[in-house]
């Protein structure tokens, strides 16, 4: 079991209010991702759940029981830190065994659990090594190993992939997703990278300046962003946000069109513009154009779309995929 509930949780450091007031439900077995720009309070929120930081006000329930004043170790949660926080003087074996040793378990039981975890994480050959003799991905796996041997109610991840190179990040993303399917344990995962959020989450919590902007499944957020912030944050490349006359024509202060919902042509279309930059990714081509009377717009074209800098192009936004936002930024 591992459901987590936050009720009216707020946090201030001295006089600076970092998290105004948050209510959140995390169901048992769910993979929840907190996503938001750097400094928006994601880590702080995670640390409040872990018990490493006291909430200024509010209640935290784990499996329905009030855990607000409970010590971190008593909450039955495991955390994987951004820096991995491995113990440098202990071997991989010692690192993974440490929580079990602290729990006072018997040597043979510890040995079995450590070896099981090492097998799952492909670490069996490295059990005698020190953390500094491992690669970034291996260290990451040791940190995960240390987290899973305790069989916690939930895992907390704080930007676990941000120290890895791009290729490894994609790999580890898959491994963590797979681990979630195997263990079916609740996972709370913090990241500033919306791609990680979209690919891994059952439920995404979009945070901005300590407030929850929207909660929903990845596709839900993609299809129905509640406001400008979510619209701009979810999706890659970013949604085009257009103000002025083009927006007024739709009776909105701002309209948004995703690059993938804009058709490109060299002959005809409602918008006409000059190409500023073309990015060929193989499967896709991203065309950045300066549209007359609208401003800069990014559009996605098929990979073979041949266009060059300073050429004139025509753009056709799909009418039913245009998002309209009011003066306060909320979707209309």
């Amino acid at each position: 079991m591992g459901s987590i509930t936050l009720e009216k949780v707020s946090k201030s450091f001295g006089t600076t209010n970092v998290i105004p007031e948050i209510d959140l439900e995390i169901a048992d077995g769910e993979f929840v991702v907190f996503v938001g720009p750097s400094g928006c309070g994601k880590s702080t929120l995670l640390r409040i759940i872990a018990g490493l930081e006291d909430a200024t006000a509010g209640t935290i329930r784990i499996d329905g029981a009030d855990a607000t004043r409970e010590a971190p170790a008593k909450r039955g949660l495991s955390m994987v830190f951004q820096s991995y926080a491995l113990y440098p003087h202990m071997s991989v074996y010692g690192n993974i065994a440490f929580p079990l040793k602290m729990a006072g378990q018997e040597k043979p039981a510890i040995d079995k659990k450590v070896r099981d975890a090492a097998r799952v994480l492909n670490l069996t050959d490295y059990l005698d090594r020190k953390p500094r003799q491992l690669s970034g991905g291996q260290r990451q796996r040791v940190a995960i190993g240390r987290a899973i041997v305790r069989q916690p109610k939930a895992f907390l991840f704080d930007e676990p992939l941000s120290n890895l190179d791009a290729a490894l990040r994609v790999n580890m993303r898959l491994e963590i997703s797979e681990l979630h399917h195997q263990l079916k344990t609740t996972m709370v995962y913090v990241t500033h990278d919306q791609v990680e959020a979209m690919t891994m989450a059952d439920k995404i919590v979009v945070l901005n300046a300590g407030r929850i902007e929207q909660v929903g499944s990845p596709l839900d957020l993609y299809r129905n962003p509640k406001n400008l912030f979510v619209a701009g944050f979810i999706g890659s490349p970013k949604m085009n946000l257009i103000t002025g006359a083009a927006a007024a024509k739709e009776n909105a202060t701002t309209i948004g069109v995703r690059p993938e919902h804009i058709g490109l042509s060299k002959r005809e279309g409602p918008w006409q513009g000059t190409v500023t930059v073309v990015e060929h990714l193989g499967a896709d081509t991203f065309v950045h154009a300066d549209v007359d009377g609208v401003g800069p717009v990014t559009a996605r074209a098929p990979g073979e779309f041949a266009v060059k800098h300073s050429e004139r192009v025509f753009l056709t936004p799909e009418a039913e995929k245009i998002y309209r936002f009011g003066e306060n930024g909320d979707a209309l």
Binding site: A50, L52, A71, P72, A73, L77, S78, M79, F81, Q82, S83, A85, L86, Y87, P88, H89, F98, P99, M102, A103, R146, R150
Partner: protein, 290 residues
């Protein structure tokens, strides 16, 4: 210094400094060695003669030598023990956030800046004096007989004085090491269920091992040659109870005017220091490897 040229240029530039340091070391050592093989007493000037190993035999079989050797080791060991344990505790305390932290840290460092003779005099006359010392006053407050520290517990008293001087050094080094401990590591251990004591044993102590090694090595170098504190307080006495090797060499040379014997003692002290150094490097040197 990547290329052959820059390397040989560097060697050339360094040569004068290295040569100078070498001469600086080798000349006194050679002279001491030479004197240690002479019968050379200041009371009989101009009567130096070859003595072979007589000075060494004389120095090593002197009953005072055995006592001094033991005292030296006890003094070094005692001070190391007190400064390591006390330094760790003080560093842990100073690492906590509290009001007036800056001032308190400064006060803790202060003893290191007091000259050995001055601190020894302060301890002798203001703290340990059997009549008007503070310790005696405290003893009388409880209706106890004041202890005459310097004559009844001479080596212990000297150890206390020297430890007081070196405690700030150990505290400072250990405090900086403590502050370099990754906060997330402590938090990870906390999440893993380690209480304050387990965290200290499993996370903090191993992290401090390297700094402790540095403290032990540096302090040992200086503690082997403690002299001023003994001269000012006990004069090595009563008898030889607080005489260490350094003080014995001094007594030989300047109280008995026996330059030959003192030189032999000096060479013995150098050899002893090297034995201790080799022993220490073997024992804890691996802590210094990255």
């Amino acid at each position: 210094m990547a290329t052959l040229q820059t390397r040989s240029a560097a060697r050339l530039m360094m040569t004068p400094a290295v040569l100078m340091l070498f001469v600086w070391m080798i000349v006194p050592l050679a002279m001491t060695l030479y004197f240690s093989l002479l019968r050379y007493n200041l009371l009989m000037p101009g009567m130096e003669e070859w003595a072979g190993t007589l000075n060494y035999r004389y120095f090593l079989t002197d009953p005072a030598f055995g006592a001094a050797l033991l005292n030296t080791l006890l003094l070094v060991g005692g001070v190391l023990l007190i400064t390591l344990v006390g330094g760790t505790l003080l560093a842990l305390l100073l690492d906590q956030p509290f009001f007036g932290q800056g001032i308190v840290r400064l006060l803790v460092i202060a003893p290191f800046f007091v000259m050995p003779t001055v601190s020894a005099l302060v301890w002798k006359n203001m703290l340990m004096h059997p009549v008007y010392g503070i310790f005696a006053w405290i003893a009388r407050l409880f209706g106890l007989q004041p202890v005459d520290w310097l004559s009844s517990l001479p080596l212990f008293s000297v150890t206390m004085i020297v430890a007081w001087q070196w405690l700030p050094f150990a505290t400072l080094i250990l405090l900086t090491a403590l502050q370099s401990l990754d906060e997330e590591q402590k938090e990870a251990a906390e999440m893993d269920g380690a209480g304050p004591v387990s965290r200290f044993i499993h996370i903090v102590l191993p992290h401090l091992a390297r700094a402790m090694t540095v403290v032990v090595l540096i302090e040992t170098i200086f503690l082997l040659s403690v002299f001023a504190e003994i001269l000012v307080t006990t004069n090595g006495g009563p008898g030889t109870e607080s005489t260490n090797i350094t003080y014995l060499v001094y007594a030989q040379a300047l109280l008995q005017f026996d330059v030959g014997g003192a030189s032999a003692g000096g060479i013995v002290a150098v050899i002893l220091a090297n034995i201790v150094a080799i022993f220490l490097i073997r024992l804890i040197g691996k802590n210094l490897e990255a």
